[in-house]
């Protein structure tokens, strides 16, 4: 028997048993029953019952206060606070159940989780690999950007990539699925985003230096909290002539040549647009990310990066994209100065 926080336990009169205004996703999901050999601490149920009532009354007060508040962020904070001690919500959070991002309490939990781990990793990689300031001057992410390559049939790569890791070319040969998890979108509105993938490490032999190439560019992509990714469904629709978003550079994988530096960085940035962009004016051949940001008044809200170097699958992918065979450089770096 599940002797747990069933709403029947609390006579069902409090705010936490009322689902007329609250989402069903705040209900507890998938309760695992105790093993037959498990023994609960004694008297835990009595204390829990009273504790539940006390917290529920407090939550009711916070809900009432939230009704009087006008500001979106403050209201969101209060709504999150009102549910943060709800045992059903806590159970869902702690037991790996699917969390509904539209609920303030889950959204704030996910935001905190992101800030405490994934964001730190991302910023470390962006700074250590000098993605900032080599591309953008700096960035303060507010959106969790996750990338994976869904075409792969190899289980090893069937996952979200970790910023900074080395990826093989057979993995990156198709456009990635990009998931943008917004945290400050309180009303689940649709917002316009631009996504660019650039490689600042393409050799430039004329100057004995590097140039930046644009490998993928998408604009006017409308995403919300629930519709949050650019995936195969959207790519297919685009192929079939839909105009949900505009592409100013179709995907071209980064294909490093033999001995062309230690590695090449794939820098993916996400920008929030104030308005629709006319993509015909964008110069995709000689792309400068800083002027792109300035020209269209974009605000960088997130990003990620990975690294690539020459591997045995590069030549196959080159031929798939109809590219000529890549150059081969001498293994030893020569002391010729910059031109």
């Amino acid at each position: 028997m599940l002797r747990i926080f069933k709403r029947s336990l609390n006579s069902g009169k409090g705010i936490w048993s009322n689902f007329s205004n609250r989402s069903e996703t705040l209900k507890v999901q998938n309760i695992k029953p105790h093993a037959a050999t498990y023994h609960s601490p004694l008297l835990i149920d009595d204390a829990f019952k009273s504790a539940y009532e006390i917290l529920q009354q407090e939550s009711e007060k916070i809900y009432q206060r939230a009704q009087t508040v006008e500001k979106d962020d403050l209201k969101d904070k209060l709504l999150s606070q009102a549910e943060s001690k709800n045992p059903e919500v806590l159970y869902n959070i702690q037991n790996g159940n699917d969390l509904d991002i539209t609920q303030p309490v889950y959204r704030n939990h996910l935001k905190k989780q992101w800030e405490n781990y994934d964001l730190m990793i991302l910023m470390q990689r962006l700074e250590q690999f000098k993605v900032i300031p080599d591309t953008l001057p700096t960035i303060q992410p507010t959106v969790d950007v996750k990338v994976k390559f869904p075409h792969i049939t190899n289980g090893e790569f069937n996952r979200w990539i970790v910023p900074g890791e080395f990826l093989p070319s057979f993995l990156t040969k198709q456009p990635p699925t990009i998931k943008l998890q917004q945290f400050d979108n309180y009303k689940n509105e649709s917002k316009l985003f631009s996504i660019v993938l650039i490689n600042p490490d393409e050799p430039n032999l004329e100057t004995n230096s590097f140039k930046t190439t644009l490998n993928f560019g998408v604009s006017n992509l409308s995403l919300s909290l629930t519709d949050d990714s650019l995936d195969v469904t959207k790519y297919l629709k685009y192929e079939n002539g839909s105009e949900e978003f505009s592409m100013f550079k179709s995907y071209e994988p980064i294909l490093p040549e033999v001995n062309a530096g230690d590695y090449q960085r794939a820098c993916l940035f996400v920008f929030e647009q104030p308005e629709k962009i006319n993509v015909d004016q964008i110069n995709a051949e000689d792309f400068d990310i800083r002027s792109f940001v300035n020209n269209y008044n974009l605000s960088p809200v997130g990003g990620t990066m990975w690294r690539q170097k020459y591997d045995r699958s590069v030549n196959d992918v080159r031929s798939e994209y109809g590219l000529s065979k890549g150059r081969v450089f001498h293994r030893v770096r020569k002391p010729f100065p910059l031109i």
Binding site: P137, T153, N158, P200, F210, L236, G322, H330, F336, L338
Partner: protein, 370 residues
């Protein structure tokens, strides 16, 4: 008594300077002994001078000057250049008390660079123009890679073999579901094999279908890029394939766990099927299960497209436990009244009675021995 003045006057007049000549002074003084030759410290090149990689810029004790951009530091704090360029001495606003020396890659480049500006970087590698040499360099392997070649080839062959086996089973079964021409059948089987691989990695059936379509469109684009087909051909092939895919997806899909083709069901139909099966299974709860029942239950649980691997394991442990629970009264007997054929007596501890009790179970209770 003499006054001091008179003594000094006397000294000036006589000008006696006393020199110790015969006393023993050959050992020298204790404190003066540790002199050494100069270590030739200091800057070796100066502001604006050109340096090559490895050239020493400064020898010092401790870090009088810190290594800045494109400079390295040795174990005795010797600063040397890492890149060819022009020496610049500067202060860094992030460490206001330090002096730095750096190598600017261009003559008129000032250091330190603005914090938010991109770095100026030198490529430095030279292209190999000789084709044979280029090929040699390209095919060069590290020892680690070389040693892994055998295993990699073997894995590749196994994958190909596996794919081939899948293709043949699908080829045999495909005609049961749809009527297709030979060309279409090849495409369809390729598609179904890819779908199977994706579904195995937890993609949904619908996602896998779309991914396979997208794969085909990209392969067509690749043919176009290599001038094997024209744009018009691409459009017609694409439309043809999309029609084929629609037809195929409507009728047939792959069941991951049995690796067999099966009729496609959409998500609503699948959940209805799941509920239906669960209801049927509930009919077997708390009942004696015969060997036919057992087969039937196994069949229900492994119905294509109904449950995933974890759910199947859960259902099996729920509905086909190795020993039926004691709540199934027909399987329990009183051992004092005699033991039926194949029955077993089990001794167990009863928590409520606080003593050991003996319970007889008939052979029907032991499902694992059916």
């Amino acid at each position: 008594m003499f006054s001091v003045n008179s003594i000094t006057k006397g000294l000036q007049k006589t000008s006696i300077t006393q020199v110790r000549t015969a006393t023993k002074r050959a050992a020298g003084s204790r404190t003066n002994k540790n002199d050494s030759a100069g270590r030739r410290l200091g800057p070796k090149v100066f502001e604006g001078n050109f340096v090559s990689p490895g050239q020493i810029i400064m020898r010092q004790r401790g870090t009088k000057i810190h290594p800045g951009e494109n400079c390295g530091i040795g174990k005795d704090h010797t600063i040397f250049a890492l890149e060819p360029g022009f020496v610049k001495f500067y202060y860094d606003p992030f460490h206001p008390l330090r002096k730095y020396v750096g190598v600017a890659l261009k003559k008129d480049y000032t250091l330190p660079k603005d914090h938010f500006d991109p770095r100026l970087r030198r490529f430095g590698y030279v292209e190999i123009t000789d084709e044979a040499e280029a090929l040699k360099e390209e095919s060069r392997m590290s020892r680690k890679e070389y040693l892994q070649q055998a295993e990699l080839t073997k894995k590749k062959q196994m994958r190909a073999h596996h794919d081939q086996a899948l293709s043949t089973t699908f080829q045999e079964q495909l005609s049961q579901f749809v009527e297709l021409s030979d060309d279409e059948a090849t495409l369809a089987i390729e598609r179904l094999v890819n779908n199977y691989k994706l579904i195995r990695l937890d993609h949904s059936i619908e996602d896998a279908n779309q991914q396979s379509t997208f794969n085909y469109i990209l392969s067509l684009k690749s043919l176009l890029a290599n001038n094997k087909i024209t744009q018009e051909e691409l459009t017609t092939l694409k439309e043809k394939y999309i029609k084929l895919a629609e037809k195929l997806d409507r009728d047939v899909t792959v069941d991951f766990s049995t690796k067999q083709l099966t009729k496609y069901l959409n998500s609503e139909q699948r959940s209805a099927l799941r509920n239906d099966i669960k209801e049927k299974l509930n009919g077997f709860k708390n009942k004696v299960i015969s060997s036919e029942d057992k087969k039937h239950i196994e069949q229900l649980i492994s119905t294509p497209l109904a449950f995933n691997k974890v759910e199947r394991a859960d259902l099996t442990s729920d509905y086909l436990p190795s020993v039926l629970p004691e709540s199934v009264e027909e399987t329990v007997f009183d051992p004092e009244k005699g033991i039926p054929e194949g029955g077993k007596v089990i001794t167990k501890y009863d928590n409520t009675l606080r003593k050991t009790i003996k319970i007889g179970r008939t052979k029907e209770a032991f499902l694992n021995q059916l």
